[in-house]
Symmetry: C2
Subunit: 338 residues, 2 copies
């Protein structure tokens, strides 16, 4: 185990990178939800001025990174690396969205967990001495994701109650070696967990065991209780997955419920917005983190947050071939103090 | 710029990680090519004992990582991180291939450049003090890639002379903090470069400008001439792209030809194997690096190699929407001495 490793699968960052800027851009439906006041931009046009949904998603990513850089008062040329990903085949949301930025680029795929992955690797790049400034960005778009993973929108496919609604949104974070925080202090990289769930319309159930695996490792590695954090927030387990996660910990005699929430449950009003089990997509946890959560930290509402982005690493082909759903979760400790 | 940065976009690793083990597994056609003696395993069965090509690719990845670990005499439990990716939608070659390995997992997408990306990030994880042991792995499979990017094999689509043949192959490298080398000494992370090439059957032309961008930056950042290396090898530019790259440098008054080669040109005999412009796929550069190149370094044939994996970040959807092809190149310096 390396010197920065603590416990089995976590690392403590000796020089915690600082969040210098963060921004989020979302679509109309997200802007009608309970977090509407936390978004930097609510775009009423699903196409973002483009001709296709995929191009719209790319435009949204570019816009979001530009806004995060503006808020950090940094030009793109100061960014040594951008770590980026999305849900689309061959990750074109990122590669087309960022191709004009002229920033060294690391492409990632972590499904809906990508914001946890990109934020972790950005923090490691800075703490490891490879960069003074790095950016993490992800996006998802309801319309491009439906076309990609499910049915053409025009088909009007019915959704079961366990299904989640892919968020149209993007979140970006600019990290710097020095700054006033909030800081990234600890990381727990997830292992792939597959408990045999095969229902692609119930990704919360598939991802909950991965969240449990990573969070359990995190608490054990750092020798802390869940109450160490003011808020523990999973990516997008939704109503089904969040309940399973709470149950898993209850079986261990641990009650995470008092300070636990899920981005997929926070971003929409399930009563009023007809999203079934909640929001999902890598734009879900990204836009909640870069809006509501980091704004709340800056306002002093929370001092320590554990951001645990979750992802289902399936594809439509794997589902058609009868495969179960491997999932993963990346946990990132964010603190107002170093 | 951080302390490990040199020049504009390169880093020098103060504690160069050592290649403790490397392995490659390929398919029948690759085993009939000029590098046949360098592969650890040539599998005559395109299905690798599975029922679909996607599952075959996953089985190949799992087999390759296991072999690399065996050659390094390390158990999977000693690996703190695996950095992995492939060409399939949602990167299922990696997520399904490695789900049973119980190793913390970072999913990447760099198209055919993924071996350069995974090797770079593995090296950074170790040099940065986050891991003592990390693994990098990628794969591609001719049959799954054809289905993914082009036509069903049964359709028998014609291929223009500029097209390349996706390699069925996987390569894995296990890096350790200490060891006898070869060592990873320098990294240059590429920027996305898009010169407007739109022909998805001419990816060599699309990727050559990215290779030129990264290699130029590398030479400038390190203040070296191409002759610094015994061999400079690009990922899979093929006949068209390799010629363009040599031309680009010639325009700068630099002749890279004497010590330059391309994995896509090395792996097949273009005269005898009907592969048109050469091999491609992230298994191409991965299997050439982990077989022929690293074996050659161990045998003393080369002391310093610059491995410059290249990738075209397109998707079938982006092509159908009339988009050009953004490309990227990651350069990794590998040396027998620290």
């Amino acid at each position: 185990m390396s010197k920065k490793h603590i416990g089995k699968q976590s690392v403590a960052l000796p020089n915690p990178p600082s969040i210098a800027g963060h921004a989020c851009v979302v679509g109309k439906k997200e802007g009608e939800g309970p977090l509407r006041d936390s978004f930097d931009l609510i775009n009423e046009d699903s196409f973002f001025g483009e001709k296709t949904w995929e191009k719209a998603e790319s435009a949204m990513q570019k816009m979001t990174l530009s806004m995060a850089l503006d808020k950090a008062s940094l030009p793109p040329s100061s960014v040594e690396y951008v770590f980026a990903g999305d849900l689309l085949n061959q990750c074109i949301g990122s590669s087309f969205g960022l191709r004009d930025m002229d920033i060294p680029f690391w492409g990632l795929y972590g499904a809906c967990s990508t914001m946890g992955e990109s934020l972790s690797l950005s923090a490691m790049a800075i703490d490891g001495g490879f960069a003074d400034t790095a950016a993490a960005i992800t996006s998802s778009h309801f319309c491009s994701a439906e076309r990609q993973f499910r049915y053409p929108l025009e088909y009007g496919g019915q959704r079961p109650p366990t299904a989640q609604w892919t968020v149209t949104g993007s979140g970006a974070i600019v990290l710097t070696a020095d700054g006033d925080g909030p800081y990234i202090t600890h990381l727990t990289c997830g292992k792939i967990v597959d408990q045999g769930i095969k229902d692609a319309n119930n990704m919360g159930a598939a991802m909950a065991p991965a969240a449990y695996s990573t969070l359990s490792a995190h608490f054990e590695d750092l020798a802390i209780e869940p109450s160490h954090y003011d808020l523990i927030v999973t990516g997008d387990l939704g109503a089904v997955g969040a309940e399973i996660l709470v149950d898993f910990f209850r079986n261990d005699g641990i009650d995470i419920a008092p300070n636990y929430d899920d981005c997929g449950l926070m971003i929409f009003s399930r009563d009023q917005q007809d999203v079934h089990a909640g929001g999902s997509g890598c734009g879900c946890s990204a836009s909640v983190l870069t809006g509501h959560l980091l704004n709340g930290m800056r306002a002093g509402r929370w001092k320590k947050i554990l951001f645990a982005a979750t992802g289902a690493l399936l594809s439509p082909v794997s589902t058609q071939q009868g495969e179960s759903i491997p999932s993963i979760c990346y946990a990132v400790s964010i603190s107002n103090t170093r």
